[in-house]
């Protein structure tokens, strides 16, 4: 860290070929949260993402090849762990998340309300949280995505016995405990879902905070029907295996406990 001071908050932005938008996102979060260090994890980008991020004043960690969003996010958590940050938050590089929402999520973990704060696009804000003239209605997902997210919401809620409204959110803030957990396990094939499941399994707490999703500032969504179907298959498998793992873990433990 050296001359960058001893900031206790790391903001990181996983980015795969988001050169068009990443610099604006970096500048926006730096302006909103000047007390934090900003890191862009370039996931094998080939379009100058790392260069733009660096010019905008972010530290850059470049993965040597594309590893997928889970591994990219885990790189951020690992960086936070190695450099001794007490809190971290991550947001998407496409400009869909608002910096002021990042601050609200960070406040939730800094005040000790939870170990992980999740920005939810679907949770309706309570009246005091509702900013005048704005609501969560900005974000209108496609039909297929709505179906998929609804399915996973139900299943995850069933498996963990906690209520989730947004299981695929890429906007989160974590304290040291959650950083340690996610640095060791996050890179699965369905990281958002798997990470929430392991969070609950490890007894950490979370809070969903309603956020506003902006339309993409540039670049393209990496979703299409085929990889969406694959995504759903992986999600189901992850949950199924997760249930088996939990039983396996609680079985001998409950028998041999003192």
């Amino acid at each position: 860290m050296g001359d960058r001071g001893h900031a206790e908050v790391l903001l990181f932005i996983p980015a795969f070929n988001e050169a068009e938008t990443v610099a604006d996102v970096v500048r926006a979060v730096r302006a909103e949260l000047p007390e934090a260090n900003v890191l862009v994890v370039s996931d094998g980008s080939t379009d100058g993402t790392a260069h733009r991020a660096h010019q905008a004043g972010a530290s850059v960690a470049s993965l040597p090849f594309n590893l997928g969003i889970g591994a990219a996010i885990q790189t951020g958590y690992l960086y936070a762990l190695r450099h001794g940050y007490r809190f971290c938050a991550h947001l998407d590089a496409d400009g869909q998340h608002r910096p002021e929402d990042v601050r609200r999520l960070l406040d939730a973990v800094r005040e000790g309300r939870c170990d992980l704060a999740i920005g939810s696009r679907y949770k309706t804000p309570s009246t005091d949280e509702l900013v005048a003239g704005e609501g969560s209605s900005h974000y209108v997902p496609t039909f297929l995505r709505r179906m998929g997210t609804a399915l996973f919401r139900q299943m995850l809620s069933f498996v963990t016995r906690h209520r989730f409204t947004d299981t695929t959110s890429g906007l989160r803030a974590a304290n040291r405990q959650a950083i340690e957990l996610f640095a060791s396990e996050y890179a699965g094939d369905y990281p958002e879902l798997e990470s929430l499941h392991s969070l609950v399994r490890n007894g950490l707490t979370f809070e969903e905070i309603p956020v506003v999703m902006l339309p993409r500032a540039g670049g393209r969504s990496k979703f299409n029907p085929i990889n969406s179907a694959f995504f759903i298959f992986k999600g189901l498998l992850v949950l199924f295996v997760g249930v088996l793992r939990r039983r396996e873990a609680s079985g001998p433990g409950s028998g041999s406990g003192p």
């Binding site: 980008s45 080939t46 379009d47 470049s62």
Partner: protein, 138 residues
């Protein structure tokens, strides 16, 4: 006793010529594995499954009663068909084993890449990010 059962049933037996051939193939196979280990082309930890496969082939070739008994147990009247079925199952298991090894290595590669990215970022805070992406001036 197993040999008696095999003989009493209308089982098509593997001919002695095939058996001799199978023994030779099995011995060559085991020798090949040993040679690969000797030349460090194959790590010892991955030889176990291949050795078991080679030994199984050898046993089946030397003691034909075993194959007849297996075929009988599986309800396959043709011993040759039984041989092929067993081979297919074993090959499938070996492939699965390979996929497990590949998965483990993929996990290790991921972690190595992450460590590399973090180490590299540290030394570069004042320089240009040495990415593979060096942008040409727009």
């Amino acid at each position: 006793m197993s040999a008696l059962i095999a003989e009493s049933q209308p089982v098509v037996n593997v001919s002695s010529q095939t058996r001799v051939l199978a023994v030779i193939v099995a011995i060559l196979f085991l020798a090949l594995i040993l040679d690969l280990v000797r030349r460090r082309k194959l790590q010892e930890r991955y030889t176990v499954v291949w050795f078991l496969a080679g030994l199984a082939l050898l046993v089946l070739a030397v003691v034909p009663g075993v194959l007849g008994w297996l075929a009988e147990r599986a309800g396959i009247s043709d011993t040759n068909a039984a041989l092929f079925s067993i081979t297919l199952v074993v090959a499938g298991l070996l492939l699965l084993n390979l996929t497990v090894v590949v998965s483990k290595q993929a996990e290790q590669i991921t972690r190595l890449s992450q460590e590399l990215a973090i180490l590299r970022s540290r030394g570069e805070e004042e320089e240009e990010p040495a990415d593979e992406e060096r942008v040409p001036a727009p």
